[in-house]
Amino acid sequence: MTGKPERMTGARAFVECLYRENVEVLFGYPGGVLLPIYDELYDAHLHHLLVRHEQAAVHAAEGYARATGKVGVCLATSGPGATNLVTGIANAYMDSIPLVAFTGQVPSSMLGNDAFQEANITGITMPITKHNYLVQDAKDLPRIIKEAFHIASTGRPGPVLIDMPKDVTTDEIDFVYPDKVELRGYKPTYKGNSQQIKRAATAIAKSKRPVIYAGGGVIGSDASKELLSFAEKIRAPVTTTLTGIGGFPNDNELYLGMPGMHGTKYANYAIQESDLLIAVGARFDDRVTGKLKSFAPNAKIIHIDIDPAEISKNITVDIPIVGDAKNILKSLLPHVSECDTKEWLDKVAIWKRDFPLYYVNRDDAIKPQYIIEQINEACPDAIIVTEVGQHQMWAAQYFKYKEPRTFITSGGLGTMGYGFPAAIGAKLGRPDKVVFDISGDGSFQMNSQEMATIVQNDIPIIIALFNNGYLGMVRQWQALFFEHRYSHTTIEDSVDFVKLAEAYGALGIRVEKPSEVRPAIEKAIEANRPVIIDFIVEREENVSPMVPAGAAINEILDLERTQ
């Protein structure tokens, strides 16, 4: 920088820093201590999206990050504004999503005095952030913002929170934005150890029954092209976790679908019978592994992950390679050649033929799986965002994702109410795409107030609401494990979703017959405005297959057959 640094308030500096970080959209909600910042935002060249609840701001920022690969940014006031971010921050932490959350704070002089709208948000979010800051001096603000964006987006991505006392936003500073970040305790490893890469190549060469198990890390590091080249070169089948969906083209013959609790039988059988499991950016979550002791019992395990703490956290790894998935797959490629997997792939193909995902379609009731298939046919390039529950699993199972960042869902935390606001972020990040929020009637009601946001800002999102009058996934568990005692999971007739859409000025469509499904989807796409399609679906449809919690992943309940 040349000349004298410009003198400005912390609030102005905040806006300047966001410019420097190329932030396009800021999801936020104002409040008393944020007034200096909101006054600056009045003239700023930044898209600020006003939500109706701060939880939606953080989910939207996250949806934006997942759809674009950029850092999502949200802003909330002190106290209740800040605490309303907590769920979304935890969600981003569990799924390793880059996010910077800004919170206003009471003036420094009042900190710790239980002042009006004070909450110790750095203390509260310590366990659910990659790092957080309480800015104690306005002159530190630019450096801290620079560090926050760096920390959020490098290494294993994650949420970073910056808490800004009001005086920090009003004090004047000489604005200097640092060029570089200096953090002596933070040096992520990107390059895989060459010895380990050679060891992995040797193990791959020896393997007769390899399986690639890819997770959200593949999407986070933009490694899907490399994953495809790698899988095709060694001729190994590929299974992607819930957050890894889209990381491998679903129409590829090597694709096995999702593993684990609601995974395909063939993915689970393949893992269990594999002699080599190549985990890429996946963390052996319990929903994937089932009973740890019986997981992939005969397999040697290669684990590629950027976070050394994930190595041997849940499962003992034979060949760990710490680093960025894209880098490592690239450097592994020249060392590997086609494996002798013909026999293995034939066996997998037989499993695929004998145990496909299936449901029994009917003419007189709408099957939720059928809706997903129809959305897929009508709009194969859509971005699918989901809430949490049965509809989420059907969206994972029945839509054919071809590209990364087209399936956006809450994996680790399983946050109901996530999908709708995340869809808002996804649509703002990718306005060229049709965005569906696949939703249950339970989950949708957790953040349905955001209808006002999308109508006010004319954000065309299609909410495909799977209305079964139940908290469906919990009901399914009650049916299977609690003798159909549906304790407090019935929510039928509680809302007229068409009227709700209309009350907000959106389009509402009710669909009660299978024949109306496709026309309704097409009408909604055509409308190019906020839409709720209220699909009245088969009430007690179950997600199948299912591995009960704590069982081995090949101990699968085949629910359709028992119905």
């Binding site: 366990p127 790092h131 050394p308 703490a309 041997s312």
Partner: protein
């Protein structure tokens, strides 16, 4: 199994909470934790004694390394190290047994740092066994109060941790 870790951290607001919070939320068991500034005022040293098997030790080390403000983690069990703990022990006394207490203090190369009519306060430095031993011998006189620092440790020789 106990392990002693030397953890160098940025000397900043909230770091102790971060480290302590990490232990509690991940279910690791801290036996002792001693913190103080180092020769570099921007760096603090934590000596942490943690209980658990090799798997726990590995996870503790890796999770600590993930914290942005943690600069380095060294397992002092891997190298030979010198370890000390300081305890202050206030013991009931009167004219009849003061000599006996002084004798014990001498044997342990401890020091009396405060004397009153009905008590003495003893300073003792050493490993946990030594402190336990003197405590056992002083207990019959009646220990009124006791304070321990927790273990501090450094690697032996010129290598740094």
């Amino acid at each position: 199994m106990k392990h002693t870790l030397a953890v160098l951290v940025e000397n900043k607001y909230g770091v102790l909470t971060r480290v302590a919070g990490l232990f509690s939320r991940r279910g690791f068991n801290i036996d002792s934790l001693a913190v103080g500034i180092t020769e570099d005022p921007t760096i603090s040293r934590m000596t942490i004694v943690v209980r658990g098997d090799e798997h726990v030790l590995e996870q503790v080390t890796k999770q600590l390394n993930k914290l942005i403000e943690v600069i380095r983690v060294t397992d002092l069990g891997a190298d030979e190290s010198v370890e000390r703990e300081l305890a202050l022990i206030k013991v009931n006394t009167d004219a009849s047994n003061r000599a006996e207490i002084i004798q014990i203090v001498d044997i342990f190369r401890a020091r009396i740092i405060d004397v009153a009519s009905k008590s003495v306060t003893i300073e003792v430095t050493g490993d946990a066994n030594k402190i336990k031993a003197i405590q056992t011998l002083l207990r019959p006189f009646g220990i009124k109060e006791m304070a321990r620092t927790g273990k501090v440790a450094l690697t032996r020789g010129s290598k740094s941790s």
